[in-house]
């Protein structure tokens, strides 16, 4: 188990060793190209990242366009699960660049340095501090996307709320706040303290779902970004920050300094974003994606072509092309999802069945093994995923590792109980016949425990198919990607493109294991008709 307080350097060393092992383990699958690896040619291969909100994805696409225009092949690990995931990925070289915000850098990324008394207030101070970590911070992209508090105009008018300080006179208001805003140091708690707001009417919800909550009056106040395209669309009022709470959040490119040697042209190209986008251009682009259903790659490329007279090819928006993309996405996410499930489940079977057998043989082993796998099961899936990142980086590997751990309990437990449920008389009969321990296991005990073991594997498979969807948060792809994008874009159609195949796959797994059970389990063990 990895110690949470280990330094980053320790983690990275450990990560290297474990990656070598898992790379060897997964060598079998190396032939398949489901990770979407870029082609192997002489051009540098780069990866850029983005967070799970539209502005970040558009800026990620823009980095892709700029890098490709400079001759690099660029992969976009889109919609990753948060600042920590992206920052760690950048430092460890999983990605080469992404766009973040000065406020986030100050309050989140450099919070540790700030606690140690290092000044990180000015952008220049931040730039120096990041450089020490091997990261280059560009000048601002040109807009300040800060947090703000928003309400619908009609509601705000009725209650005469214009400023954030007005909120404290209305304890009846219901708040829907994004997870990140509630958790971060410069988020809700500090804001409420700053303004003296006391309320317990707070629900944590996805930023994009909060807009729906506002429309249906399930909530009246939410945190918004000042460049959100929804502000005009839903007629929201941005409450005035009258006590100057929110810090500035200038968008900046963060990239690894070694890029200047590895891919000098791309590194230079990435910096073309400096000063390129003003606030209205940014919210305009976000609007085109969110409200006019344009693809991020299209909007980003279109903007660059106009603004920098570039000639980036744009994805076609014709119905045929769109349908083809739906089909391609379905095929790609299916392959990715199957890969995640099959590899993690396969490895789990190889490990869990022997564990279950040794647990069945010794009560002491049983206590330890069942205890440990049960504890793993109680870890929140998101937390387990984040633990896997320092070990395995981003993508399919950490997701497979997390799914592997989740699959252990049902298989271990069912192997254990399946073997334990064999009546003593039958176990002894096998023994007195003159079979040694291994032959008894092979000829008598495992065949008798098989229905239980198979049903454990079935449970693991079904859980696994569902849980694999969160792999999208760390760039593992699968059916979670369209779901995540769908939530971000409030697109039911996209959500269903992930949810329906995931449900079908779960049913298919259930059915398939049912068939397998019929084939493998002795007719003598079926309940009499």
């Amino acid at each position: 188990m990895i110690c949470l307080h280990a330094s980053l350097a320790d983690l990275l060393q450990f990560r290297f060793a474990t990656r070598m092992i898992t790379a060897a383990m997964l060598g079998l699958f190396a032939g398949s190209n489901v990770f979407g690896e870029a082609n192997r040619d002489s051009s540098p291969e780069l990866k850029v990242g983005s967070k799970a909100f539209t502005e970040s994805v558009i800026l990620g696409e823009m980095l892709c366009h700029l890098g490709r225009d400079a001759g690099a092949s660029v992969e976009h690990l889109a919609e990753l699960g948060g600042t920590q995931i992206l920052w760690n990925a950048l430092v460890s070289g999983e990605i080469d660049a992404y766009v973040d915000y000065t406020g986030t850098i100050r309050e989140e990324i450099l919070a540790e340095a700030a606690r140690k008394g290092i000044a990180v207030q000015s952008e220049e101070q931040m730039r120096q501090e990041l450089a020490r970590r091997g990261i280059l911070m560009s000048a601002t992209v040109g807009f300040n996307n800060t947090y703000a508090m928003g309400m619908r105009e009609v509601v705000a008018d009725r209650l005469s709320i214009r400023k954030i300080s007005d909120l404290k006179n209305h304890p009846e208001l219901e708040y829907g706040l994004s997870d990140e805003f509630r958790e971060r140091r410069d988020g809700w708690n500090a804001l409420a303290e700053h303004y003296g707001i006391t309320t317990s009417n707070i629900r944590t919800m996805d930023h994009n779902l909060a807009y729906r909550g506002l429309v249906h009056n399930a909530i009246q106040v939410t945190d918004i970004y000042t460049t959100d395209a929804e502000i005009p669309f839903y007629r929201l009022r941005v409450l005035e920050d009258d006590l100057d709470y929110f810090p500035t959040y200038h968008a900046v490119v963060l990239m690894r300094t070694d890029l200047e040697q590895r891919a000098p042209n791309a590194a230079k190209a990435f910096l073309k974003l400096e000063g390129l986008i003003d606030p209205s251009e940014m919210s305009g682009m976000t609007g085109r994606v969110r409200l006019q259903n344009k693809m991020e790659a299209f909007v980003a490329g279109d903007f660059l072509n106009n603004k920098l007279q570039m000639n980036r090819p744009l994805p076609s928006m014709s119905p045929t092309a769109q349908w083809k993309r739906v089909a391609d996405r379905l095929l790609k996410t299916t392959m990715e999802h199957l890969f995640l499930v099959a590899v993690s489940l396969g490895l789990a079977i190889l490990v869990a069945v022997p564990l279950g057998i040794s647990a069945a043989r010794s009560e002491r082993v049983a206590n330890v093994v069942l205890g440990v796998v049960s504890v793993i099961q109680t870890l929140p899936s998101m937390a387990l995923l984040v633990f896997m990142i320092p070990l395995f980086g981003l993508g399919a590997l950490p997701a497979i590792a997390a799914l592997f751990f989740y699959s252990l309990l049902p298989i271990v437990r069912n192997t254990y109980t399946g073997l334990r449920q064999i009546p003593a008389a039958i176990r002894e009969s096998a023994e007195v016949l003159g079979l040694d321990q291994n032959s008894r296991l092979r000829l008598v005990e495992l065949p008798l425990a098989l229905p239980s073991i198979l049903s454990g594997i079935k449970t693991a498979a079904v859980i696994n198919v569902g849980t694999a969807t969160i792999g999208a948060l760390i760039g593992a792809g699968g059916y979670g990607s369209p779901i995540l994008t769908g939530i971000r874009l409030s697109s039911i159609s996209l959500i269903l493109q992930g949810a329906i195949p995931a449900a079908l796959l779960a049913i298919l797994a259930q059915w398939g294991f049912g068939m397998l059970e019929k084939k493998l389990v002795s007719p003598g063990l079926r309940p009499p008709r």
Partner: protein, 243 residues
């Protein structure tokens, strides 16, 4: 065939078998009898090595039974328990021939032997394809006996073999089993709490109480020269219907 030399066995604080020395002669049928908890099943389980003695030694064919020799020694014993102890995932044929298959017998050889045993135990051939759940209690018990006889062991051990059978089935099977033991000239050791069964099978009856042998000899000698009041009470504690 078997001998116990000062063998004792406890489970926790309970001494279920007090230090006991006894011999089981070759070619003889011995019946261990006594109430529940008297130590008769413990003695049988010591003989097949399912439990190890706390003190003393158990010998089989003059050889001390040690854990490393157990597996091969057991192939020279046939063990039959209540309801047959059959493996539910195997057909009757597979149950009977499991060890032969394991030891590498050919199919023809196995088939021939099983047919021979089916005739001996009067098991209908059709039952050989059935799984234990599809057979009657009497058939299961016959299959259990066939399985014990498959490798033609010199000794047969029975732990309450008729316990789960209804009286008519039991009556027929007792007849058949005695005939089999006599015909094949096997040494046999049987645990029962049924006095009638003990008299029917045993050349020699060994009565146990509270972890020790109270008396051994022919049923006749137990009836006419009982060692103590307990033996007399046990023998007469059988209800015979008055008609």
């Amino acid at each position: 065939m078997f001998s116990l030399d000062s063998v004792s066995k406890s489970f926790g604080d309970m001494q279920v078998l007090k230090p006991t020395s006894v011999e089981f002669a070759v070619g003889k049928s011995t019946v261990l009898i006594g109430p529940s908890g008297c130590g008769k099943s413990t003695m049988l389980r010591l003989l097949v090595g399912l439990i190890q003695p706390d003190s003393g030694t158990v010998r089989f064919d003059s050889e001390v039974m040690t854990p490393d020799k157990l597996t091969t020694m057991r192939r020279r014993m046939g063990y039959v328990i209540q309801d047959g102890g059959l493996f539910p995932h195997l057909t009757a044929f597979e149950n009977i021939s499991l060890m032969a298959t394991y030891l590498g017998w050919g199919m023809d050889e196995r088939k021939k032997r099983v047919e021979q045993l089916a005739e001996l135990t009067r098991l209908p051939n059709a039952a050989l394809k059935r799984y234990p759940a599809q057979m009657s209690g009497g058939q299961r018990q016959r299959v259990g006996i066939m399985r014990a006889l498959m490798l033609d062991p010199p000794v047969l051990l029975f732990d309450e073999p008729m316990g789960a059978l209804d009286p008519l089935v039991r009556f027929d099977l007792q007849e058949d089993l005695l005939k089999i033991i006599r015909t094949l000239g096997k040494t046999s050791i049987m645990v029962t709490h049924d006095m009638g069964e003990a008299g029917f099978f045993g050349d020699q009856v060994m009565m146990l109480s509270e972890g020790q042998i109270v008396q051994q000899g022919t049923l006749d000698s137990l009836i006419h020269q009982p060692a103590n009041e307990y033996v007399t009470r046990f023998i007469h504690a059988q209800r015979i219907p008055h008609v």
